[in-house]
């Protein structure tokens, strides 16, 4: 293949050496990535393949729609609550059920808690090791680390030299035990790591602090959802009653004491995100100021359904407004309607499924999932042991969702670009102050002009920063939700569920609905068709399907593939840069696909040909 230009303006050249990474590690699920590098080790072609298959409709067809949330909560270990919420929303939409205001606020707080929790865990536990070298942290001077911490996060109390010395000793013991455990999937002498030993030690320390705090955060789910893991959801509202004077016995209704406990957790989230998480991301980013790769599709095409309305059901009050940006035009945001059969469509020309006419796409309500596993003529290896994929043919178990035929990126960065250009002041202020801080630490001079923002935001670092900023926004919004809930209860409203249409005899013979959620990884939609009180069809289009999608029939590449292009690799056999950019999307293959390859590897296996 010579150089080809895709309709969405990317140049692909697969003539250079091929690097195969399979599996991509530190993600949920199974994924494979192949790239071609030129003579300077710059990535010129990228191929992302989901190596698992899933079929949600298999488990849900014929079940009671009121139970669907419990099943979808189990499809993945990470975003349990997002699927449950999308599911109850889809059923309520189909049946025309309006939930009480209290239920709306409680669901908002559960969703935002999940967002904060997931973003914190993702950054410190799944992504930090792409930037931070824990082995290098052993060389750090604890006194200098303490000074660094006080400069970077002046409001964080844990900063004494003795504290860092203690963490360093524990780390040393752990590394010397020969069992690197969580740190073993690393390339610790690769020059792609840029932090000073002190910054490395500070980040490792915060990794341990994040572990301690995340368990506190999720207690919000235990209070509102009755239990955790796997909190309870309810079609029509939330499964907890309110009685402000009630006692604290197990299973008793929500009372003031429990609600105050929730408020304390919200304050903890605010403090950690503001004092530790965001300062860490910006400080780390400043060491990588020359590494603004990884933007890919983000600068030109992003999409979200919109989330966090202050008035339930009124999309115009979304605090993170949705929409679609295409062709890099930040001056125009197109409205997005998940019910319109012409907008969200899934294509399979390069996926291991078949349609009668593969030049067209299907809206999820009419979704078809018929597998067809075949490798292209140019593939190397055999059907069970693929050495090299042929991306001109079918090559992934992920379908290709498109918005009006456009490949789009979804996720926190997409939501932040959409909010920024639509004038959400909170978001603009966050972006401006982060940029100012970055300039201060890195010695750069980026302005807030659109031209400069387009250099900085659509990047791997920008994606990681947007996630941190979104965590802060969610924690702050939650604080408001909490006060609105208390006010509403004080006004005498204690309703938490609308059970008028609980009985299937009140339902129409046939109904269809859609539920959307701003999941941590991006736009999530569940589409349901109900017939005779049972589920007739159920389709979920999840964020990783959007971002990890293979090429479509028109030849457009998806967000993962686009993000890897033009990135130089220090050492092609050590895919630090590939992992760093892919991890910035927080890939979660468990719900976009289903297990096929059962052999796990200790380390990302890399082959260079």
């Amino acid at each position: 293949m010579a150089v080809i230009k895709t309709p969405n303006n990317f140049e692909l050249d697969n003539s250079g050496r091929r690097v195969v990474v399979d599996p991509v590690t530190r993600i949920e699920g199974h994924m494979r990535c192949e790239v071609n590098v030129d003579e300077n080790n710059v990535i010129r072609n990228a191929v992302s393949s989901g190596t698992m298959w899933r079929g949600l409709e298999v488990i849900l067809k014929g079940r009671d729609p009121r139970d669907a949330w419990a099943f979808v909560e189990r499809i993945c270990g990470v975003c349990t609550g997002c699927h449950a919420l999308a599911s109850v929303r889809a059923v309520e939409d189909a049946l025309g059920i309006e939930i009480p205001y209290n239920a709306h606020l409680i669901r908002e707080m559960m969703a935002k808690t999940l967002q904060v929790h997931d973003h914190v865990v993702h950054f410190y536990h799944l992504h930090a090791l792409d930037w931070v070298n824990p082995v290098n942290a052993l060389k750090a001077d604890p006194v200098a680390t303490s000074q660094l911490q006080q400069a970077v996060s002046p409001h964080h109390p844990l900063s004494s030299p003795g504290y860092f010395k203690d963490v360093q000793n524990r780390l040393k013991k752990f590394v010397e035990s020969g069992q690197l455990g969580i740190f073993k999937n690393g390339y610790w002498d690769n020059p792609a790591y840029k932090l000073s030993p002190e910054a490395d030690l500070m980040a490792v320390t915060h990794y341990l602090e994040a572990l301690d705090l995340q368990k506190e955060f999720v207690k919000v789910h235990t209070i509102f959802g009755g239990k955790n893991p796997h909190p309870n959801y309810l079609v029509g509202g939330v499964p907890c009653a309110i009685n402000m004077d009630g006692d604290m016995s197990a299973g008793a209704p929500l009372n003031m004491e429990r609600l105050n406990f929730v408020l304390e957790r919200i304050k903890e989230m605010q403090a950690f995100v503001k004092n530790v998480y965001i300062p860490d991301v910006i400080a780390i980013a400043s060491f990588y100021k020359d590494w603004l790769y990884g933007g890919g599709l983000a600068g030109q095409a992003v999409m979200d359904y919109g989330a966090y309305p202050t008035k339930p059901g009124d999309k115009s009050t979304d605090q993170l407004p949705g929409g679609a940006i295409i062709n890099g035009n930040w001056n125009e945001v197109h409205p997005v309607d998940p019910r319109d059969p012409e907008q969200v469509q899934e294509f399979v020309a390069h996926s291991w499924y078949t349609y009668e006419d593969e030049t067209r796409g299907y809206h999820p309500w009419d979704g078809v999932t018929e597998p067809k596993y075949e490798l292209g003529a140019g593939a190397k290896g055999d059907r069970t042991h693929i050495k090299e994929l042929d991306e001109s043919a079918k090559y992934s178990w992920i379908k290709s969702p498109r918005w009006r035929g456009h490949a789009v990126e979804v996720g926190p960065l997409a939501r932040y670009i959409l909010a920024y250009v639509q004038g959400v002041e909170y978001v603009q202020e966050q972006v401006h102050s982060s940029l100012a801080r970055f300039n201060e630490l890195a010695g750069t001079e980026f302005t807030t002009s659109v031209a400069d923002l387009k250099k900085v935001l659509p990047s791997t670092i920008g994606r990681t920063l947007a996630r941190a900023l979104e965590a802060e926004y969610c924690a702050d919004m939650m604080y408001d939700d909490w006060h609105r809930l208390i006010q509403n209860i004080k006004n005498g409203d204690t309703a938490t569920a609308n059970m008028e249409k609980w009985d299937p005899s009140t339902w129409p013979k046939e109904a269809k609905g859609v539920g959307t959620v701003a999941a941590p990884r991006g736009a999530l939609g569940h589409w349901i068709k109900i017939k005779d009180g049972k589920i007739e069809n159920y389709q979920a289009v999840v964020p990783t399907t959007w971002n990890g999608s293979p090429r479509d029939p028109m030849g457009n590449i998806g967000a993962y593939e686009a993000s890897l292009l033009n990135t130089p690799m220090e050492r092609p056999d050590e895919p630090v840069e590939i992992l760093r950019t892919l991890h910035s999307f927080d890939p979660c293959l468990a719900c976009s696909t289903h297990v096929m390859s059962e052999e796990g590897e200790e380390m990302a296996k890399v082959t260079v040909r």
Partner: protein, 226 residues
């Protein structure tokens, strides 16, 4: 002394649900004092760190690909557990659980006693399916093994006369009996009519070669009981 009894796995994937089904059964049949917690850990992976950290005694139920005949029970203790869980991975969450143990070690709060009660799955590539009979038959024996350990640690539960209705899994739609009874009736037919990957011989999960018991370096349950 805190004891955590944890079932892990995905109950939507046939035998992968074994661990969760064991704690479900224990919760239905027995009542414990407050020092003992039964938990349906699902595929929560690293989110279970704090639960493990708080435990002095940890019992884990799981479906583990030991390379044995389907339905074989195998119990592994203490230091053997992480090695064992890392040796082969049948499922997504096992990567996660090995990491959980490593992280807890780094934090210096590793459980004093650790027991993995595992059963060899027969089928995990049946999305929406339930436990295979040979695996389902091992729920009660595995619960007995756990009770045996608890007894040695001085923990004796109260037996419920009738199965408790409150289901540890949360939604009763997922409780074993209802999950199986309400499976779509045309599930198999429909699956065959639509040549799904799960039934496609070219791409389906190939069970591993069954090892002879004598090949195993770690004690089998049958040899362990004295």
């Amino acid at each position: 002394m805190k004891t955590l009894i944890l079932g892990i796995g995905n109950l939507l994937w046939a035998d992968e649900g074994f661990g969760v089904r064991c704690v479900e059964r224990m919760a239905q049949r027995y009542r414990f004092d407050e020092s003992v917690e039964l938990m349906d850990g699902g595929t929560q992976g690293i989110y279970l760190i704090h639960n493990v950290e708080e435990a002095d005694n940890l019992i884990v139920f799981d479906a583990v690909d030991y390379g044995l005949a389907p339905g074989t029970i195998k119990v592994v203790e203490d230091d053997e557990v992480p090695k064992f869980m890392g040796a082969k991975k049948v499922s997504l969450h096992q990567t996660g659980f090995q990491e959980v143990l490593a992280t807890v070690m780094l934090k210096g709060s590793y459980p004093q006693r650790l027991v993995l009660i595992g059963v060899q799955p027969e089928e995990i590539e049946d999305y929406g399916g339930s436990l295979r009979p040979v695996v389902k038959a091992q729920i009660d024996p595995c619960v007995e093994i756990a009770l045996d350990y608890l007894k040695r640690w001085g923990i004796e539960p109260v037996e419920e006369l009738e199965d408790k209705r409150d289901c540890i899994i949360g939604s009763e739609a997922l409780a074993l009996d209802r999950y199986e009874a309400e499976q779509p009736q045309d599930r198999d037919l429909w699956a065959k009519g639509d040549p799904r990957v799960l039934l496609d011989e070219d791409v389906r999960f190939e069970p591993k070669k069954v090892l002879q018991e004598s090949d195993m370096s770690v004690c089998l349950h049958q040899q362990r009981v004295k």
